[in-house]
């Protein structure tokens, strides 16, 4: 894992002290809320429905045991004993006191973490594949690239006041586990003639105008990626719409001027950038890469998994993925218990997962955009011990990518922008489909819920998506079908008029019934939908 050097640490520590002073001045009245708000937002501190909310960055979703333990400690000491893992691989605390915020940031800095650039019109936390470095099919580990981008984008003076927020994802496999094409910029590492470089996608996003990013360059070499991205951002920074918040994302610029024109302008700027020689030195790239060297895997390990316990075997089949090293496995930890809150983890659960990482996974953890956790390197021989501990902590749900593995934003239970509550709906759907056999029968089905058009819950990218709307003061839910955030990215289509909370659960049941009746062998829900189209589903729902 990457470790801060003295520059990283000094910058983060200085930021904490600066914020301590700003907070003090706010509490004594030297700063008004209008003056203070932009300062707190630069440190990830929002004012939400019930209290201040702090968003902590988890760079490319990678954490050490120590970091996770600290997140749990903060939840216990300063919050109400839990935190919420988000679709951007961040963690949000819902009950923060302003007076405590500087101390929390100081505690985070002790474990090389912060909340910088988790809000505002800047480049946000870089997201990545939770299987980075351990999946057999990747071209290279995407995390050194993500770390390079983190260093480049942190406090980048030119990109601190972009027209709007800017989100970047980096992946390196054909399987897209990071919703790469729904980011402002997505990078996919590819190999060409033995050299690793990146395909660059630009202008994706969700929100009120969802778009799947088009490819704008099929290869940028590693040592030029910074210059190329600098060019992409420059064109956006110059021409992105600052006059209208709803048209300010890069997707609107790319859409309005056209992909070809945007590409042309980027290439022109890139040619100019190249001449300036701004690329990071090759030694720095090598230094970063060294941090992500594979851990010391043991050789000659057993591939055997004792499947005599049925519950354990079911969990293995669902939650465990293939690892590139013999004798090892990737363990997905579900944060979606049937009656729980998607993405929430208690302080105790965070502490337990930290222990598991240290004992069984080379001190490493991952956070996924689907609001789950991953132990990336577990010996197959240890799976049973890990499972038993997860069972005891209520973390052994076996539902990865099934209908109850629901992504849900905080919605109206926590979010000041919401129209409707997402979490109670997620719970109702999960309990309707709770039976393990039923979930297994339905198979892969990605269900995603947002409480408003901002789409934090990725509803456009759900095989089934749900959007909360406000119908004259009453919660109402629109249903979407056919979205995907994976390598086959697509945007869901609205079925028709919206539903009440119970109505939408019934509608989903009708939708899954049609799928089960119509599917051909090997088809996932999404495949059947794509083959037969919206009509049969619509007829079943509105009949």
């Amino acid at each position: 894992m990457y470790r801060y050097d003295s520059y990283d640490q000094a910058i983060v520590d200085a930021r904490v002290e600066e914020f301590r002073d700003q907070t003090q001045r706010r509490l004594t009245g030297a700063l008004t809320e209008d003056q203070f708000k932009p300062l707190r937002l630069m440190n990830g501190l929002y004012l939400q429905l019930h209290a201040y909310m702090l968003r902590v960055a988890i760079p490319y979703g990678t954490l050490s045991g120590k970091q996770m333990r600290k997140l749990g400690e903060i939840a216990g000491k300063y919050d109400k004993g839990y935190g919420h893992f988000t679709t951007r691989q961040n963690l949000q605390y819902n009950w923060i006191k302003l007076a405590d915020a500087p101390d929390i940031l100081a505690e985070l800095a002790m474990v090389e973490m912060h909340a910088i650039q988790t809000s505002g019109n800047c480049i946000r936390n870089i997201s990545s594949d939770q299987y980075a470095g351990v999946s057999a099919d990747e071209v290279a580990d995407p995390r050194p690239w993500a770390e390079l981008l983190r260093q480049w984008s942190s406090f980048h003076p030119e990109f601190t006041y972009l027209p709007r927020k800017f989100k970047i994802a980096v992946i390196a496999s054909d399987d897209d586990r990071a919703a790469m094409r729904l980011h402002d910029i997505g990078l996919k590492l590819v190999e060409r003639d033995g050299v690793v470089g990146a395909e660059v996608y630009a202008g994706g996003g969700m929100g009120r105008t969802p778009m799947v990013a088009p490819l704008i360059r099929d290869f940028v070499a590693e040592d030029e990626i910074i210059s190329y991205l600098e060019a992409c951002l420059r064109v956006y920074n110059r021409y992105g719409r600052r006059d209208n918040k709803y048209k300010a994302r890069i997707k609107i610029l790319v859409h309005e001027i056209g992909v070809e024109e945007y590409k042309r302008q980027v290439e022109e700027e890139f040619a100019h950038m190249r001449a300036l020689g701004l690329n990071p030195p090759v030694e720095e790239l090598a230094r970063i890469r060294d941090f992500f060297a594979a851990p010391a895997y043991e050789s000659g390990l057993s591939e055997e998994i004792d499947r005599s316990d049925r519950a354990f075997a079911l969990w293995v089949d669902r939650q465990v993925a293939a690892h590139k090293a013999p004798g090892y496995a990737i363990v997905n930890i579900s944060l979606k218990p049937i009656d729980g809150i998607p993405g929430d983890a208690s302080a105790e659960q965070m502490a337990l997962v930290a222990d598991l990482a240290e004992t069984y996974s080379f001190d490493e953890l991952r956070v996924t955009h689907a609001q789950n956790l991953v132990l990336p390197h577990v010996r197959k021989a240890d799976l049973r011990a890990v499972w038993q501990k997860l069972v005891a902590a209520g973390l052994a749900e076996a539902n990865l990518d099934l209908i109850t593995d629901i992504i849900a934003c905080p919605g109206l239970d926590y979010c000041a922008l919401a129209n409707a509550r997402s979490i109670p709906l997620a719970q109702k759907i999960a309990s309707r489909f709770a039976a393990a056999e039923r979930q297994a029968e339905i198979g892969e089905l990605k269900l995603k819920i947002s409480g408003c058009i901002n789409a934090c819950g990725h509803h456009h990218a759900g095989h089934i998506g749900i959007l909360g709307v406000d119908r004259r003061g009453v919660e109402n839910f629109q249903l979407l079908l056919g979205g995907s955030g994976a390598e086959d990215a697509s945007l869901g289509q609205i079925t028709g008029p919206g539903f009440s909370e119970d109505g939408v659960v019934d509608a989903i049941e009708k939708v899954t019934d049609i799928y089960l009746a119509e599917r051909e062998s090997g088809e996932r829900f999404l495949d059947t939908y794509r083959r037969i189209g919206m009509k049969p589903f619509k007829e079943a729902i509105y009949g």
Binding site: L27, L49, H50, A51, K97, L98, D413
Partner: protein, 98 residues
């Protein structure tokens, strides 16, 4: 009636104007009539509240009920964590929110 709400500056807690100061219980909220905005600015300047705003509400035998669901959730707390509600009231409080 019109009531005034906001968040306590230092703790962030949801608070309601109770006539002579702020309360954490919506049931203490009093009608601010046409003085809400003026009161909000004065209380903000006195560092007792942040983000104060006036809302519509009604009063009946169950207490004060904000007109909009968002403010009822602020008054009650997250509907999915009844264990966190400061003053756990009747079991069917969820109905009060909706």
């Amino acid at each position: 009636m019109k009531i005034l709400t906001g968040n306590d500056l230092a703790s962030g807690d949801v608070i309601w104007w109770a006539g002579d100061g702020w309360s954490r219980q919506v049931s203490d909220a009093t009608d601010v009539g046409t003085h809400g905005d003026e009161l909000a600015r004065a209380e903000e300047a006195a560092l007792r509240v942040v983000g104060a705003y006036v809302i519509d509400a009604t009063r009946d035998e169950d207490g004060v009920r904000p007109a909009h669901i968002k403010d009822r959730i602020r008054a009650f707390g997250p509907t999915v964590r009844p264990d966190l509600v400061e003053q756990p009231t009747e079991a069917d409080i969820g109905k009060w929110v909706i």
